[in-house]
């Protein structure tokens, strides 16, 4: 059955090659049809000229884009200090929720309450309440900065999610791993640090990547309490020019960062799925 034909392929290989070619042709054709339908139809919509002038205005784009890039540096800066803080706090909370010593029971309750509360409140509310509320207690400058308290709001919210992901990772490490480690005479703390956590963290890297991508977008919520990051900067241009193109520009900048990051997270997920099977 496996006799190669003239092209050096077995019958099965030749069949599969034909199938692949057929799929590729169909996919390409349908893509072209859909794309041309969009390209043909959208500009013929009655409101297209207004939409184009309002969302895809080249002149406005050129005027606003460089400043949007500048403002995006603020996003990157806020992201850069929030992400590690979230990872550390999230891990601590996950561990607090996992402690088994009875003396630390209050810690477990606190951990549970914390994740319930911060996952239950919209981020923007937390940003407002903490960003304006805590400085309102009378902290002196620079300790009342919206950067500090806004970041804290993001950190607290995201740490709650990240903690849950870490916890799912910890739970996913089979009990037999703990038993094996304990049977060697390791203490609970050593079991967690040397055996459970390294495995748990590896397993949740793809999910945590998705949290990072979400955080990267939610940094913009700080604009509500003052910092002129990209979303606010785009809003200023929008108001002054009465044009939405700056938002499109901001979206492009976000996409330039998040699409590669999303692809990478998907790649990690797929890789992990392959390794497990």
């Amino acid at each position: 059955m496996n006799k190669p034909n003239a092209a050096g392929m077995t019958r099965r290989q030749a069949f599969e090659a034909r199938q692949r070619l057929r799929s590729a042709v169909i996919a390409a054709t349908s893509t072209v049809v859909v794309a041309s339908a969009i390209i043909w139809a959208v500009p013929r919509a009655p409101g297209w000229e207004k939409v184009q002038a309002s969302f895809f205005n080249a002149e406005v784009f050129a005027r606003s884009f460089p400043k949007l890039l500048d403002a995006f540096l603020i996003n990157i800066m806020i992201f850069a200090w929030c992400a590690p803080a979230i990872a550390i706090l999230g891990l601590l909370i996950a561990l607090a929720r996992d402690v088994r010593a009875p003396a630390l029971y209050p810690l477990r309750i606190l951990g549970a309450a914390y994740t319930d509360i911060f996952r239950g409140v919209p981020v923007i509310l937390t940003v407002y309440l903490i960003g304006f509320g805590i400085p309102g207690l009378g902290l002196p400058r620079p300790w009342n900065s919206p950067y500090i308290w806004g970041s804290l709001a993001l950190i607290l919210t995201y740490a709650a999610y990240v903690a849950e992901i870490f916890r799912s990772g910890i739970d996913s490490v089979h009990e037999s791993q703990r038993a094996a480690a304990r049977s060697l005479g390791l203490s609970e703390r050593q079991v967690m640090r040397d055996v459970v956590l390294p495995q748990a963290i590896r397993r949740v890297v793809p999910s945590q990547m998705n949290m990072l991508i979400a955080l990267q977008k939610d940094v913009s919520l700080l604009s509500f309490i003052g910092p002129v990051e990209i979303f606010r900067q785009a809003g200023v241009f929008k108001s002054l020019l009465a044009n939405f193109t700056p938002y499109v520009g901001a979206a492009l900048i976000f996409l330039a960062v998040t699409i590669p990051a999303t692809r990478y997270a998907d790649y990690l997920m797929a890789k992990q799925a392959r390794e497990r099977s």
Binding site: S176, A179, R182, S183, L184, G185, L186, S187, D194
Partner: protein, 243 residues
């Protein structure tokens, strides 16, 4: 090496009694095999000896110390009593050598470099020197299980517990693991095995105990128990197992 004495050991999960008054003596250098159907309480008994499960009543003497005394530090026990599991349970994120050195490093505070020679000697003893730098998923089941034995031995235990360590292996890999057990026995290790390998039990064990419903129904020298079981349940079990 140490000796082990179990007296009236009782262990229940919720209202299901898994060990129902077990008495067992394991002399220094003796190999005791626990046989019986799955669910008879063999594994639980081993886990109790290692204090992975606290017992409800009774006593477990390790060289005359009652380690089942409530409040007794389980870490001290586990460092003296090694255990190997059915599913190997190697740590997948560490190489074979790191798996073996982890506990000595953490418990004695010695460095990797310091422990390397000792570890290498143990690997050599079980024909595993070439596998030291490999990760568990690069090893065969038999190799993994032997690494697990080496890992337990690295703590220089006085008693070793083996919980059906060949059950998860492909048949052609069982032999190499049983060879490792024979080697250990020849070194005078005190050992308790839960096993389904009747041939091995008959050949190597000093004493065989038949368990059912958390009780030892019959015990005796391997030859006696396999050739002339007294208890009707033992007879029925062996008839099935040896068929």
């Amino acid at each position: 090496m140490a000796k082990l004495e179990l007296r009236e050991v009782i262990k229940a999960f919720d209202d299901k009694t898994v060990c129902d008054g077990i008495d067992l003596d394991v002399e220094v250098g003796e190999m005791v095999c626990l046989i019986g159907a799955s669910g008879a309480g063999k594994s639980t008994l081993l886990r109790c000896i290692n204090l992975l499960e606290p017992i409800d009543d009774g006593a477990i003497y390790l060289d005359d110390t009652d380690i089942a005394e409530p409040g007794f530090d389980p870490l001290l026990v586990r460092r003296r009593v090694g255990m190997v599991f059915q599913s190997y349970n190697l740590f997948p994120h560490m190489t074979a050598a790191e798996n073996v050195m982890l506990a000595p490093r953490r418990v004695t505070g010695r460095s990797r470099a310091d422990l390397k020679d000792e570890a290498e000697a143990l690997f050599a003893q079980f024909g595993l020197v070439d596998q030291m730098a490999k990760y568990p998923d690069q090893l065969s089941g038999g190799q993994q299980q032997r690494v697990a034995i080496v890992r337990a031995l690295a703590m220089r235990p006085e008693v070793m517990l083996f919980d059906e360590i060949t059950s998860a292996l492909d048949p052609q890999l069982v032999g190499e693991v049983l060879d490792a057990l024979r080697a250990l026995k020849s070194q005078g290790m005190t050992m308790v095995l839960a096993t389904h390998e009747m041939g091995f039990a008959r050949e190597a064990a000093d004493k065989v105990c038949f368990l059912k419903h958390g009780r030892i129904l019959e015990e005796g020298p391997a030859e006696t128990l396999f050739q002339a079981p007294q208890n009707a349940e033992t007879q029925a079990f062996l008839a099935r197992a040896l068929k």
